[in-house]
Amino acid sequence: MREHRRTTACAGRRDASPSAESAPAVVLAAAERGKQWVACACERAEARGVRPGMSLAHAKALLKGMHVWEKPFTPAEDAQALRRLARWAGRFSPVVAADEPDGLLLEMSGCEGLFGEDRDMISRIDASFKKLNLPVRLALAPTIGCAWAVARFAADRIRIVAPRRVREELTPLPVAGLRIPPLFVEALHEVGIERIGSLFDLPREELACRFGADLLRRLDQAAGQVGEIITPLRPATPIEAARGFDGPVTNPDAIEVTVRELLFALVLQLEERACGVRTLDVVLQRVSAEPYRFSIALSHPNRDVRHLWTLLRPKIERAELGWGVESVSLHASRLGRLTARQLPLAQAEPQREEQGDESSLGEFLDLLMDRLGRGAVGRMAAAETYVPEEAFPWRALSETRTAVGADSRAGESRGAAWKDRPSQLFSVPEPAQVISPAPDGPPSWLRWRGEECLVRRSRGPERLALPWWEAKRGTSPSSNAARDYYEVEDDQGRLLWVFRDLTTHGWFVHGLWA
C-alpha cells in the first residue's frame, strides 16, 4: 500500500521572481503594536541579510541603494490565494490540499497512468506553474512528510524520491523539514542534532521522553511508519434542485407546479448558505429533442420566492414542451452574499417601504430588465475626460458590478467644468451652415435642421481638444480634432452649443440648453 502512494509537495515562493540586477527587492511588512517588522522577504532581499522577524527599519538599512517594494503582509489573502491555486491544481489530481502557508499537497497515486512516467508528470506540473509565473520546488515521494521536507530542503529544485529510498533521502535534511514547531528545532539544535538522520540513530524512548510524542509521530510519518492522509479541498456543492417525471409530461400546469416546488427547495438551500441567486438556469429535458433552457439574471442577489417566480413564470409559459418533458432542473449558477433579513411583522406595503432597501430596488430593476431588455437600464458616471460626448458614458446596469449609487468616489471639484455644458447633447453633432463675419469669429446666422436663424448673442470660443497623446493615437476619429465651441442665442430664444471643427472648418450644432 505504501509503495503505491506517491505524494507531491510543492513549495512555492510567492515573491520569487526572475532576478535582474535592477529588479526591486520585495519586502512584506507587518505591523504590530506600532512596530513594523519584516514578515517575508524575497530572495534578493535575503541575499542582503534581511530575515523575517527583523524590524523594517533594519531591513531598509540593509537594502540601502536598492529599490524596495514594501507591501503589507496579508496572511488571510495569501491563504485565500493558496486555496484558489489548490483548486486550480485539481487538474493534476483529484485530491489536493492547500498546505499553509506556502505549499500544496497532491495525492498522485493512480494518476501516473494519465501523465506517463514520473519524470514527465513532474516536469509537466512544473511547466504549468511556470506558465503562471510561479517558480516552485517540487518533490514526488512515497510519504507526505518526505515530500514536504524534500521539496523545501533538498538541493535540487525538482526531486523524485524512489519508493525504497525514503530514509536515505531524509537523512541529510535539516530537522526543520519534519514539520515540527520552531521551538523543537531550537531545542534539537541545542543538543547538537541538526540532521534528520541523527534522529533515526537515537533511541526512540529517549526522544519521546525529551521532546514528546509529537516529534516521533512526525518522524514516523516522514519515514512512512505511520499512515497519513491528505484532507482534500472540497469543491463547493452546487445549489440545484431537480425532479424527474414518471413519463413525459406535456401539461404546462404540471411544469409550473414542479418549477414552483423546486424553487422553494432551492430557496431553502440558499437560506442555509446565506446566499442569494444572481443567475438562475432552468433546464427542461424533453423527449427526443434537445433540452429547453432558459435563465433569469438578477441585478442584486435575491432569494425571494415571489420575486423569482414573477420572473420565471412568463418564461415557463413561453416554454416549448415538444413531445413532453422528462425532468426539470433548476440550477443557481451565480450566487451573491445575502445575509439573513428580519421578517417584517406583517407583509404590508408600509413595512416594505420602511426597509427602503437595495433588495426592493433590485427587484424593480430585474423586472425592468426582464421586460425591456438587459441593456435598457443604465446609469451615467463621470469619466476623466473633457471630450463632452465621452464625459458621461452610459453604462448598462447589467454590465456594471456595483448597483446604483453604491460607490462613493471622492468627488473632485470638476463641477466648474460642467457648468458651461448644455442640458441636452447630441450623440452625433449635427451639421449646420453658418455665416460668420470674421474668419475665426462666432456665427451671425445659421441654418440647422432646415431652419434659418439669426444669432442674437454669442459667447466663446471655448476650445476643446483631445490631449496630444490621445489625438495621436486617433482612438476616436469623431473627436480627434480641436473644436471651438460657441454658445449661441438665436432669435427664437434658443441657446445652442455650436462648434467649428478646426481641421475641416465645418460647423456643427452639438447640443442645446433645453
Partner: protein
C-alpha cells in the same frame, strides 16, 4: 373605474398573492382591486388638509405663491416641452407632429435637486424614456456635487405602453423617490394611473410631453407649458435697452405658463386676465439652479392671448 378594469393584469401581478394558500378567484381579485381603489379614495379625502401641507417648494417665490406653497408632492405634474422650429409656431399641427420637441430639462433638473435636498427623500431618481435623459453635466451640481448623478438611473423604454408600465413600476418601488418620464402619447387613462400611483406612494411624478398634446385630457395636478423666451425687440421686454454684449451674455430662458393647477383653492382657475400665470425662468449656471427672472414685465395678457390663439389654431 372602468378604465382600471380594462387592463387588470398589471395590477394583478403585484397585488394578488401568488403563493397564498389558494389562488384567488377572479371575483376575489376584483374585490381586492375595489378595496384598494376605495381605500385610495377614502385616504385622499381624509388627508386632504394634510396634503395641502406636503408641497415641494420650487424655489421660485412667485410661482410657489401662486400654487399655494409649491408643487404638490403626491401628484403628477406635466411639463410641455418646446417644439424646436417654426413650423409648430406657425400653427400647422400636422407638421408639428413630425417636429422635434425638446423637454424642459433644466427646470426639471432644478426640481429634482430641490426634491433631493428635502429630508426623508428616498434616494433614487428614475428617468424613463430616452428623450428625457439630460446630459450628465447638468446633474453634477455646483461644486462638483455628484450625488444626483449617482442616484439616478435611466430606463430606455420605447412606446407609451412600455413607458407607462415602467413609470408605474418605478412609482411602486420603495427605493425610488422621484420619477421623471417621457409622457408623450399618454392618454387620460394612462395619466390617471400615474396620478393614482403617485398619490399612493406620496411621491411626485413629472411627465414631459410634446407641446401639441396640451389639448389631450389628463389627470395631472398641474400642467406647464414652456416656450423659449424671445428677447423682444420692440422695447416691451426686459432686455430692450441692453445691447452691450459684455453685460448681456447669451442666456437660456423660458417663459413658463401654468395651464392648470388643481386644488389651488376652490374655484381657482387661471382666468384670462386675473393674476399672473406666466413667468420667465432663467438658468443660472453658476449656482446650477433655475430662477424666476426678477424683472418680469411681460404683459400677461399677451402670453395668454398667444397661448389661446395657438390652442384655437390646433383645434
Amino acid at each position: 373605474m372602468t378604465g382600471f378594469l380594462r387592463k387588470p393584469n398589471i395590477y394583478l401581478t403585484k397585488d394578488v398573492p401568488v403563493f397564498g394558500e389558494r389562488e384567488m378567484s377572479l371575483g376575489d381579485q376584483i374585490h381586492a382591486i375595489e378595496e384598494r381603489f376605495g381605500a385610495t379614495v377614502v385616504r385622499s379625502g381624509a388627508l386632504g388638509e394634510r396634503e395641502e401641507l406636503r408641497r415641494l417648494e420650487t424655489g421660485w417665490a412667485d410661482i410657489d405663491a401662486a400654487m399655494g406653497g409649491g408643487l404638490a408632492i403626491a401628484a403628477l405634474h406635466e411639463w410641455f416641452g418646446v417644439a424646436s422650429g417654426r413650423r409648430f409656431a406657425a400653427g400647422r399641427a400636422e407638421d408639428a407632429r413630425r417636429e422635434v420637441w425638446r423637454p424642459p430639462l433644466l427646470p426639471l433638473v432644478h426640481l429634482v435637486k430641490r426634491a433631493m435636498n428635502r429630508g426623508s427623500f428616498p434616494p433614487r431618481v428614475a428617468w424613463i424614456g430616452r428623450r428625457c435623459f439630460p446630459y450628465g453635466g447638468v446633474l453634477v451640481g455646483a461644486g462638483g456635487d455628484e450625488r444626483l448623478l449617482e442616484r439616478s438611473f435611466f430606463v430606455t423604454a420605447e412606446g407609451p405602453v412600455d413607458r407607462l408600465w415602467a413609470v408605474e413600476l418605478a412609482l411602486r418601488c420603495p427605493a425610488v423617490g422621484l420619477v421623471i418620464a417621457d409622457g408623450s402619447a399618454f392618454d387620460m387613462t394612462a395619466t390617471r394611473r400615474v396620478q393614482l400611483a403617485a398619490r399612493a406612494r406620496q411621491i411626485p411624478a413629472l411627465l414631459v410631453r410634446p407641446p401639441w398634446e396640451t389639448r389631450e385630457l389628463s389627470a395631472a395636478q398641474t400642467r406647464w407649458l414652456l416656450r423659449w423666451a424671445e428677447r423682444s425687440r420692440e422695447g416691451s421686454g426686459p432686455d430692450a435697452e441692453e445691447t452691450d454684449e459684455e453685460s448681456n451674455p447669451p442666456r437660456s430662458r423660458w417663459s413658463a405658463e401654468l395651464l392648470r393647477c388643481k386644488g389651488r383653492s376652490a374655484g381657482w382657475v387661471p382666468a384670462e386676465d386675473s393674476g399672473p400665470c406666466a413667468w420667465t425662468l432663467e438658468w443660472d449656471r453658476d449656482q446650477s439652479v433655475v430662477r424666476v427672472f426678477p424683472a418680469l414685465v411681460r404683459p400677461v395678457g399677451d402670453a395668454r392671448a398667444s397661448a389661446n390663439d395657438r390652442l384655437r389654431r390646433q383645434a
